[in-house]
């Protein structure tokens, strides 16, 4: 082989090898980018699906609660009012019977009031009409009047609306936490704190009950705790549940008002039902 030919072979072979290797490297990079993009798309789809699923679950829950609320308001309290009216019409000659009838009328009145309050706390429309702060205030009063707990409400910052759907979700979280405290915690104090900052909203709920184990080593959260986290995720909030045996329970729901999911994406309707 002549020198010129040898140079030609070496040069052209090198160029070809570089081209083939370059192409393979380019393909590897391109393929990895596509894989990454696909993975992100799948994750986004999964996330959207989970959101829809959660939303549907909550819609069903809200419909059920609204139905129960209406039944209490339109049926049970009406029947009790009728009972109260009938008791008023009963004529009794003995003082003992009169006293018993009056006591019964008072008890029925109290039941009607309690059921009305319960109906209101279950009713989606009532909560959205009054707003989060007012509804929590009413609930706080109700708890204090019942004597079951000593509840206190602190509001910090200038109150602004978070949108009725978001406020409803936050109120349901509050109710879930309150129910847990009443059922399991044996607490005496229940502190509610609402912090309104321009870029952050915090709902903090604290009790001084017996507490429970939390953290990564605990196998599973209860349904109520999971519900709270799921509901928070639905509106793009973070729910941190912190507790330990003997140290009560501390729940903090943090939300960036500018990142409210259900309101800002323009796809979801503004109301559950």
């Amino acid at each position: 082989m002549q020198r010129d030919d040898l140079e030609l072979v070496i040069l052209s072979t090198t160029v070809l090898f570089v081209l083939v290797i370059g192409f393979i490297v380019y393909f590897v990079v391109l393929y990895r980018n596509r894989q990454l993009k696909n993975r992100q798309e799948q994750e986004a789809l999964q996330s959207a699906f989970n959101q829809e699923l959660l939303k549907t679950q909550i819609e069903i829950q809200e419909q059920t609660l609204t139905y129960i609320s209406n039944e209490i308001h339109d049926n049970i309290t009406q029947v009790l009012s009728f009972v109260k009216l009938n008791l008023g019409l009963v004529n009794s000659e003995t003082e003992t019977n009169k006293k018993k009838i009056t006591e019964s009328r008072e008890l029925v009145s109290q039941s009607i009031n309690d059921l009305r309050n319960l109906s209101k706390s279950l009713s989606f429309e009532h909560i959205t009409q009054l707003g989060l702060v007012k509804t929590i205030e009413i609930e706080t009063d109700r708890i204090n009047n019942s004597g079951l707990l000593d509840a206190s409400l602190i509001i910090e910052g200038e109150i602004y609306t978070l949108g009725e759907q978001c406020e409803l979700v936050l109120f349901r979280i509050f109710q879930e936490a309150l129910n847990n405290t009443l059922k399991y915690s044996k607490a005496k104090l229940f502190k509610i704190n609402l912090q309104y900052n321009a870029e952050l909203f915090n709902l903090t709920l604290e009790d001084d009950g017996i507490g429970f184990l939390t953290g990564p080593n605990v196998k599973s959260d209860g349904l109520g705790l999971r519900n709270m986290k799921n509901r928070a995720a639905l509106i793009g909030a973070d729910a941190i549940i912190d507790s330990a045996p003997g140290e009560g329970c501390h729940i903090k729901v943090t939300l960036n008002p500018s990142k409210l999911r259900l309101y800002t994406d323009g796809v979801h309707q503004d109301r559950f039902s």
Partner: protein, 220 residues
Amino acid sequence: MKPIHLIEHSYQIVLLAVAVIGIFLYKKLNEQFKILALSAIGSFLVNVASTLTIKILGTNAPALHVESPMLYIFYALVYYCLFTSKNLKAAIAISIFLVSLLAIINAVTFQPFLTTFPTYIDQLTLAILALLSLLLFRQMLLAPSTTPLLSQSIFWYNTAILFYATTLFFISALSNYSLAYGTYMDLTYLWYVILFIFAILLTLSLLKASKENQRIHAKG
């Protein structure tokens, strides 16, 4: 022993090793890679036949007249299994038939079976294989798998074919150029470098394919 003979024997040993690996892994491979394993065995047998024809006839042209279409049919069949497009599958099936027919015509008329190397068929099949490998890369990009690319047998097979087809096409073109202008270029060493790399890449794809199948079976 001359260096070239040493390289030839080494290449035969490598081909034997690939064929043995193909036989050993055969049951663990899926359809397309079973064809590839068969191609490795075929390649080794043709290489042995090539050595014999050199001793008997003084040329290995007859062995190459068999090897060119045979390897094309094997590799094209692998592509037939790998492609998802029905049109491409049909095109590959037609090309297999046409290449076989052209190889016979060429051996009878243009480049006689006993005396001349089948460079026309080589050039044609290498060009088609390069095109098929590019099309398979395109298919892979359109529907990326979740498996890391370097763990995919299909990637190593396709890389092997792209490398083999483009570089051999180039060497073949260079040889033809040198013959046309009356200057002799000895490209045998370069040729063997490419064949060694190709054999390594094919072995890698066979090993990856058997691992993939084991993983699929383990998942149930």
